[in-house]
């Protein structure tokens, strides 16, 4: 009996593996297959879900407008569960599905192993939330692109804003030791160096806190003792909310600027509106503040389908990754990976996405990604900050 059961289980397993192995293949007719690798489960599930919804909206918009090469687009989701390990599995799955190109993924450390697998299999992948500099600058990847900006751009934006716009002399930088948080902090430090050399400002505090903890009073007291003019925190929102609350309770009144993962609705909820109000954040523009025609259409359709709008910039970059892929296919008049990659690198003039023109550098970075400063308004929503 037991043997029969195990044989049955093995057969079922084999069948499942077989079925998932020989999934839809893209030929020269029928819909063009594209995969979305996103964190549908795990720590960043909220971001993954929004990315999925955004790509769904983009697919509908593209298909309504006639698709590309006279064919429709079809997107399959593979879940990387927010971890590098599952990311490799998800990437293998996308490769075995023989899709034309892949959108993804969100986190930098999650994207890296997947990008290597796509590279090896000569498959174009376009990241949408992975901002770590090393992804494109560490080694040459011919098939990897990203529609989002880079951490060094954010560091530069912060440095320029803090010194030139705010006139800050004493700057405190705090990170959370994560790849992303530390990366942005290092870039900000680097970008401040010319100002420091010109004796325009100094870094009076540079240290990390431990994510997952609740008490940051020691760090806040230490920061307060250095009397900073501005305080930049480059970690994630759960700690950012606690930090600003504890800092204000301890009587620290200097302006707070968060990195692009520090300020969102949950930040306001954790900190309480009374102290969150007026907090600043260096971010890519939210879709609600993007003025392109496509953005308007995207907002209408997203609102109609999901009755809300993405409250972070990244999901829209996922939709733009699809626009970049489809645009390249159209311009190249081919679904061949090498041709698409070359087109993405060199021949994207005139291809527009939701967030603007989709042009890429030789490393695969998006050209002209703008950072903006957001402010938590009196009603707790993020609004563009006017200095």
């Amino acid at each position: 009996m037991r043997k029969a059961v195990s044989v049955l289980l093995v057969c079922m397993l084999a069948a499942v593996l077989f079925l998932s192995g020989c999934a839809k293949k893209t030929g020269t007719t029928g819909p063009i297959q594209i995969a979305l690798q996103a964190p549908i489960t795990g720590d960043y599930a909220y971001e993954g879900q929004m990315a999925k919804q955004s790509v769904e909206v983009a697919v509908e918009m593209i298909n309504k407008a006639g698709g590309v090469l006279g064919r429709q687009i079809e997107v399959t989701v593979v879940d990387d569960a927010s971890t590098p390990k599952d990311s490799a599995i998800a990437a293998q799955k996308a490769v075995s599905m023989k899709v034309v190109a892949v959108i993804g993924s969100y986190g930098s450390s999650v994207t890296e192993p997947a990008a290597d697998i796509y590279e090896k299999n000569k498959m174009v992948s376009v990241g949408y939330g992975c901002t770590a500099v090393r992804l494109t600058m560490d080694k040459q990847r011919n098939y990897f692109f990203r529609t989002c900006g880079r951490d060094d751009a954010q560091g530069l934006f912060f440095a320029k804003y803090a010194v030139e716009t705010m006139g800050a002399k004493r700057i405190g930088i705090m990170h959370d030791n994560s790849t992303f948080g530390k990366g942005v902090a290092e870039e900000a430090k680097k970008a401040l160096q010319p100002y420091i050399d010109a004796k325009k400002c100094e870094i009076v505090y540079y240290d990390a806190i431990t994510p997952g903890e609740k008490d940051f009073s020691a760090a806040v007291t230490k920061l307060g003792a250095t009397k900073p003019d501005v305080w930049y925190f480059t970690g994630y929102y759960p700690e950012a909310g606690l930090l600003i609350r504890q800092a204000r309770d301890a009587g620290l009144t200097c302006p707070f600027i968060g990195g692009n993962a520090a300020v969102n609705e949950d930040f306001v909820k954790i900190a309480g509106l009374d102290v969150a109000k007026g907090a600043l954040t260096t971010e890519e523009p939210l879709v609600i503040d993007v003025t392109t025609t496509l953005a308007g259409q995207f907002r209408d359709l997203y609102q109609q389908k999901f009755n809300t709008l993405p409250d972070s910039p990244w999901p829209v970059y996922a939709a733009d990754a699809l626009y970049a892929i489809v645009g390249a296919i159209g311009k190249a008049n081919s679904t061949d990976a090498d041709t698409i990659a070359t087109t993405l690198h060199t021949n994207m003039t005139g291809v527009e996405g939701i967030t603007g023109p989709l042009l890429f550098t030789a490393q695969g970075d998006r050209e002209d990604v703008h950072q903006v400063m957001y402010e938590v308004a009196a009603n707790g929503k993020l609004v563009l900050h006017k200095p």
Partner: protein, 303 residues
Amino acid sequence: MATFFEQLINGLTIGSFYALVALGYSMVYGVMKLINFAHGDLFALGSYLGYTLLIASSSWVTVHFGLWGGMAIAMLFAFVGIGLAGVLMERIAYRPVYPAGRLSLVVSALGMSIFLQNGIMAIWGSRPQAYPAAVVPSTRFSLLGLPVTTLQVVILLLSFTLMLVIWFIVEKTTFGAAIRATALDRSTATLMGIDVRVVIFFIFALGPALGGIAGVMNGMYYRAISFNMGWTYGLKAFTATILGGIGNIPGAMIGGLLLGLMESLFAGYVSGAWKNVFVFVILIAVLLWRPTGLLGEKTAEKV
């Protein structure tokens, strides 16, 4: 110098949370020789119970009894609720496993921890929740030139009172003697006419209940609560327990306070990034010097 005293107060506040959670760990270990890994999650559950009471009544409790009254009722609610949860946990997850030995007990405790954490996530969701500002006392004043909140003072006073009460019960009362006797040798204690079941019931009610109170205080102090917060606090409190000497009540208090002080002084004067490394190096150093912890008694363990 002002900074130093600020860091001292920071350290004492966080230390008193560690100490309260560590007390529960230590009491259960002392009597049962069981490391109750689910203890941190009971603490988190306490936070959520207090939160739910204040939210569900849409601040009714606070409106009718005032900020401090609301806080006291929420704490009482968590105290009773988590006490019951502790007793229930012993009945369901531990008592059936006693005959199977300590290893099975530890596995059962780990299972309980995962169960509680996921249960909290299933009920309250994985996004962090926050105690609304309307139910948290937030008067600030200046104490000898240091900015403190009344809440901080109340938390410190209440924690120390609770610790003293527990110490008094265990060390100075007849029932405390029964607890200590049970901890020393359960079968001999039974022969002496001690109802060991009552002692175990009491331990599993009071230990977690203290954690429940600490949970509400923690939620009010930091505002934000999350389903996995029990893990961090459980780990830190466990460290505090080991540092002070496991199974030893004053040891748990001293371990907790010491851990809090070390954390904030190191993070304040040396480096926040290296704080945990430092704390655990100290822990190892202490264990090399005194393997049973600072106040732990020398025992010949039969393993």
